[in-house]
């Protein structure tokens, strides 16, 4: 069953057609990668899914409901969480507090005035956050300032912040961009662990072929703002059109 359906989405920036007639559907409990060379429109597409950009045409349905025109927090409340290209975390807060905030969002909704409750008394919330931290092996760092974490740990923390909400769809925007090979492999392992443990639907925007072929069950290749092919990783590897689009870029 398709959890996310993108139908005929187009987006122009002045004279530039960033996206034109994009059709895409992400099936439940699969890892779907969207790849493509620089400027193919991957990030634009993602921004249309999360409420940052409004496409000029087409529709985006999440579980049959349109996400277009909704604000980022509303889309999150529908069950879509997002990991950023550079980890977006709350640097001034402790690691545990970073996880508490998404748990509160899940429990209390987009806004709740609770000025006279006490964080320390929210035992269920804290337990849930601690379980999550244990799952990503960060329980010992719970009191650390998030800003002082290593880059890899920041990524791990951000992932945990998304996962603790048990999203129906997790969007990852180039989760390994700018990472060293070792960090990239760690991230792949982390994602694989998560996939083994949970029934999760992920859409990954990625440039790194190694990451894509390690994780994805389904791949859409985007070129010049329009989907070229959609297939399994095995077929994509050998697809002539894909090779052409990447113009000699090797599948590293």
């Amino acid at each position: 069953m398709a959890i996310l359906e993108v139908k005929g989405v187009g987006k122009r920036f002045g004279g530039l057609h960033a996206l034109s007639d994009v059709n895409l559907s992400v099936q439940e409990n699969t890892v779907h990668a969207i790849i493509g060379p620089n400027g193919a429109g991957k990030s634009t597409l993602l921004n249309c899914l999360v409420g940052k950009l409004m496409p000029d045409s087409g529709s985006v349905l999440f579980q049959g409901q349109s996400v277009l025109g909704r604000k980022p927090h509303e889309i999150n409340q529908m069950g879509i969480s997002r990991v950023f290209q550079t980890p977006e975390i709350f640097g001034d807060l402790s690691v545990l507090e970073n996880i508490l905030i998404p748990v509160f969002a899940k429990r209390d909704g987009a806004f709740r005035l609770h000025p006279f409750e006490t964080v320390q008394h929210e035992v269920a919330v804290i337990d849930k956050a601690m379980t999550m931290l244990e799952e990503v092996n960060m329980a010992d760092k719970r009191d650390m300032h998030a800003a002082s974490l290593s880059r890899g740990d920041k990524r791990r923390l951000e992932m945990a912040m998304c996962l603790v909400q048990e999203p129906k769809l997790l969007l990852l925007d180039e989760p390994t961009a700018g990472m060293a090979r070792a960090d990239t492999n760690n991230t792949i392992d982390l994602l694989k662990e998560i996939m083994d443990r949970r029934d999760i639907t992920m859409a990954i925007i990625e440039h790194d072929m190694h990451v894509v072929f390690s994780l994805a069950e389904r791949i859409t290749v985007l070129a010049q703002g329009t989907p070229l092919v959609e297939d399994t990783p095995e077929n994509i590897k050998t697809h002539p059109k894909v090779k052409e689009a990447y113009l000699g870029e090797t599948a590293a």
Binding site: V50, P72, H73, L100, E122
Partner: protein, 402 residues
């Protein structure tokens, strides 16, 4: 667990309560007639001002310290609070409670409107919008709204006021169910004069309650989310929190504190003028908060205390006092030193404040609280941590602790 606080916070609250209750002693350390007696600050007017501006700064800190939204217009709510309180004195009764309640309600509504408009933008644009709103309020109070504000003269109590709940015999100053706020008890002991004033203790009592509420807000999920607004608004939005109502709630809460402070100012001196809303008054609360330590619990109160105390003390040091101090020097040198120092004292107090503010910003960006923490750290280097209740609780990071 007392009052929903953990052991550490309870201890902290008790210390603050004791400090507040013993202010008449603490601010009167020098005996009468001694050369240092002029540095005593233990008179009711000053002590009450410290409590009142402490409340003002505490509220401002909920907005600025937690969310990072820098408002340059909070004096508007102070002014609105004062006007509202004086109107209650005029129309209903000289009892303090209707005045304070009305001050809080009206300033809250005012903050809701100004906050809703200003929070359409963030960063510097938000600051400019609040500044513009406050200046508009100030100008309106001087011109169009004269029937309500009594323009330049200021709003004051008159014998001809209706005061429908007061009997004809009631006196002409604000009271607490008959107990006049201006009444004091003086205690002379060991060459010291300690003044216990009803008004001060009332303000102190309100300040302690507000401090307790602030502490609760800081430790609540709401407070946590406000700190997240300051840290990373993008992440907060993509985590499913709608930042707009959170920031608006913080804005209104800080407006309520400011209105309450304005109401208390009117209790101590039942006269409300538009100058209370002028932009320098808004700037003063910013300085108090930063000087003490933005985002900390005690910082804003310390900042308010330091500024109000020094303001009064420096105002007293005029050229004659300086000549007295440096009389032992040769004439030419004496005149020169007095000339230099007098630029920084008396009327020149703001010059000293400016230098002090610069020094704090450069050397102690965390304010007086950070200074205190550094000194404390020097004293108990390597002393065992006493976190007796940290088994399964998030530990607060340093800038939200005391």
């Amino acid at each position: 667990m007392i009052l929903g606080l953990n052991r550490r916070d309870t201890r902290f609250l008790i210390i603050v309560i004791l400090l507040t209750l013993f202010t008449p002693f603490l601010m009167q350390p020098f005996s009468e007639g001694s050369a240092l007696a002029q540095f005593n600050g233990g008179y009711p007017d000053l002590m009450a001002k410290v409590a009142i501006f402490g409340i003002f700064a505490m509220g401002f800190n909920i907005l600025f310290g937690l969310t990072g939204y820098l408002s340059f217009g909070h004096a508007a709510f102070l002014g609105v609070g004062s006007y509202s309180a004086v109107w209650m004195f005029k129309l209903l009764t000289l009892n303090v409670f209707p005045a304070l309640i009305f001050a809080v309600i009206i300033s809250g509504l005012f903050a809701l409107i100004i906050g809703y408009i200003s929070l359409q933008r963030s960063g510097i644009y938000f600051s400019i919008l609040t500044l513009a709103m406050a200046e508009m309020s100030y100008r309106l109070a001087y011109s169009v709204l004269t029937p309500i504000t009594n323009g330049e003269t200021g709003l004051q109590i008159r014998a001809t006021d209706p005061r429908i709940f007061d009997s004809a015999t009631s006196s002409g100053s604000p009271n607490l169910f008959g107990l006049e706020l201006s009444s004091s008890f003086k205690w002379e002991v060991l060459n010291h004069v300690f003044t216990f004033n009803v008004g001060f203790y009332f303000c102190a009592f309100v300040a302690i309650i507000m401090f307790y509420l602030t502490l609760r807000i800081f430790r609540s999920p709401f407070g946590l989310i406000l700190r997240a607004v300051k840290s990373n608004q993008t992440r907060l939005n993509y985590t499913g929190h709608n930042t707009r109502p959170y920031t608006l709630a913080a804005f209104v809460i800080s407006g309520l504190y400011a209105g309450l402070a304005g109401g208390l100012l009117a209790l101590m001196d039942p006269l409300a003028g538009a100058e209370r809303m002028v932009w320098t008054a808004s700037g003063e609360v910013v300085i108090m908060t930063i000087l003490g330590g933005a985002g900390t619990l005690l910082g804003p109160v310390l900042g308010a205390g330091a500024i109000k105390y020094l303001e009064i003390i420096f105002a007293k040091i005029n050229e004659n006092v300086l000549h007295g101090w440096f009389g032992f020097l040769p004439d030419g040198l004496e005149d020169f030193i007095v000339f230099i120092l007098s630029r920084f004292t008396g009327e020149g107090w703001h010059l000293t404040l400016g230098l002090m503010f610069m020094g704090i910003i450069i050397f102690l960006p965390g304010g007086l609280v950070q200074g205190g923490q550094r000194i404390a750290a020097k004293f108990r280097r390597k002393a065992p941590n006493d976190d007796d209740d940290s088994e399964h609780h998030p530990k607060s990071t340093s800038h939200v602790a005391e």
